[in-house]
Each structure stands twice: as structure tokens, then as C-alpha cells.
Amino acid sequence: MNWGVFVSTFLAASIEVIEMVGIVVAVGVTRSWRAARVGAAGGLVVLAVTIIGLGAALQSLSLETLRLVVGALLLAFGSQWYRKGILIVSRDGWATGHGAEGVDDDVPTGFDWTGAFLSFKGVSLEGLEIAVIVVAFGAAADALGSAIVGAGVSLVVIGALGVATYRYVAAIPRRALQLFVGAMLITFGTFWAGEGLRVEWPGGDIALVWLGALYVVAALLLMRIVSGWRPGVAAAKQGSLASSAGAA
């Protein structure tokens, strides 16, 4: 078992599983639990097929090429989570980003196909994101099994916990989690992309530790810097509004 890959995929998948549970529970509570379960099961089948398909397709690539491609992908989408986390946490605080999704409540008397579709769509879309994370981490670290187990444990544990006690799972501040997982994704992305380009990291594999520390410290500093930018931007906007009103 590759524990680094296991923990990384567990945490990254957990963010998506919380979203998944939010959608399924919302459909179950407001429409029909049967439809929510059928839709969720269909979405999980799509997730399994995607992981198997993508995993098999990547087996033929060399590890160096794979690490470069996966590293670049992780850098691109990890940066989104990193930025979003910094922006939102610096604006709304660490506890932001929890709550349930809203859905319609026009439930028919027979089988609720709309509810099942809503649940299926939510689970398969979030599942697609989990599939990308699992295959990326698993293939680049040559530990697809550990990545699948990490995401599987997240699905079972967070999923079951979420359905049983959604109020508590919804209270996990997703934006803060997103910030740290974003930092983790760009850490692995930088390391693997560098490995793919035959960069010699100071300290070898220990580079993962100092890269992670660098990105987390940078995120904490950037939160303060971004908070400092906001009043200046607001003042500049007000100034330009006042001058255009004066000109009129």
C-alpha cells in the first residue's frame, strides 16, 4: 500500500463525496429515497467504468510521460482549488462552504425519474472528478490499487457517514479543505511534472514535504495579501464611480 497516494486520494475524493452526499440526500429528503438510491447506484457504475477504462488506457504509457502529463493536469486543476480556497476563505473565513443543495419538490406518485436523474447526474459528475483524481494519482505513482482503495474508503466512510448524519458532514468547511487539498494537488503536480522532465529535486522524494510546506505557507500569506487588496480595489471602484457621476 502506498500511504501517500491513499491519503491524497482519500482527502481529494472526500470533497467530491461530500458534494455527492449533499445532492443524494437533498433528492432523498425532498423527492424520493428510492429514486435517489437508484440514481446514485447508476452514477457509481459510471464511476467504476470510467476508472477501469481510463486506468487501462494509461497502462501503455511510459512512467516518465505519464508523470509529466499527470503532473501538468494536477497543476492546472489543483491551482483552481488552491485559488478558489484562498479567495473564498480570505473573504468569508475558515468556516465557509457548508450546507445542503436545493432541489425542486414537484414529486410524482410513481417512480420519480426526475429525482433519479438528479441523483445520477450529481453522482456521475462528481464521480468523474473522483475518477480523474484516482487515475492521475494511481498511474503517476504506479499505485492504482492504493488510489482506488483511498477513493473507495472515502466513498464508503464519508458516504455512509454523510447519509446517516448529513448535518454533521455538511458542517465540514469544504472551502478550507479545498484550499489544503489544492495545495496538496499542486505539490504532487509540481513533483511529478518535474520528475517527468528529469528534474533533480533537492532531497529526492523529501521534496514532496518542502514543496507542500512552501505551498501551504504561500497560501496562508496570500490570504492576508488578498484581504489587503480588497479595500484598495473597492476604493478605486468607488472613486471611478464618483468621477463618472461628477462628469455626468
Partner: protein, 70 residues
Amino acid sequence: MVVWRWTKAVVLFLVDYIIGDDWTVAALIALGLLFTWRLVEAGVAAWWLLPLVVLAANIQSLRRAVRNGG
């Protein structure tokens, strides 16, 4: 026709998922990878470049997002 629609939807989803709302970050990271490769090929220690580019790309994106009211 259905297969084509689904394939297109999945490709669009993946592009949106990977690149997101600011393509300049992905473009700067691509440039960073290119320069890192050139430096490695030239025998220069290039480990410092990629983390620097990643941070710079994110900082310029954050600056623009704040200016746009983010």
C-alpha cells in the same frame, strides 16, 4: 448521434475541469514546463523554476479575480 453528444459533453467537462475559469494559469504552467525542460536539457539545475511559476501564475490570477470583485 447520442454517442457524439456524450463524447462532446465529456470532453467539454474535462476541459472546463482542468483549465477552469482562468486559462492564463494553465498557459503559464505550460510555459513553465517548457522552460524547465529546456533548462534540464541544457544541463542547468531547474528545480526552482516550476514552483516559482506555479506561485506567480496563481498570484496574477488572484489579483485579477480580486479586481473583478472576487
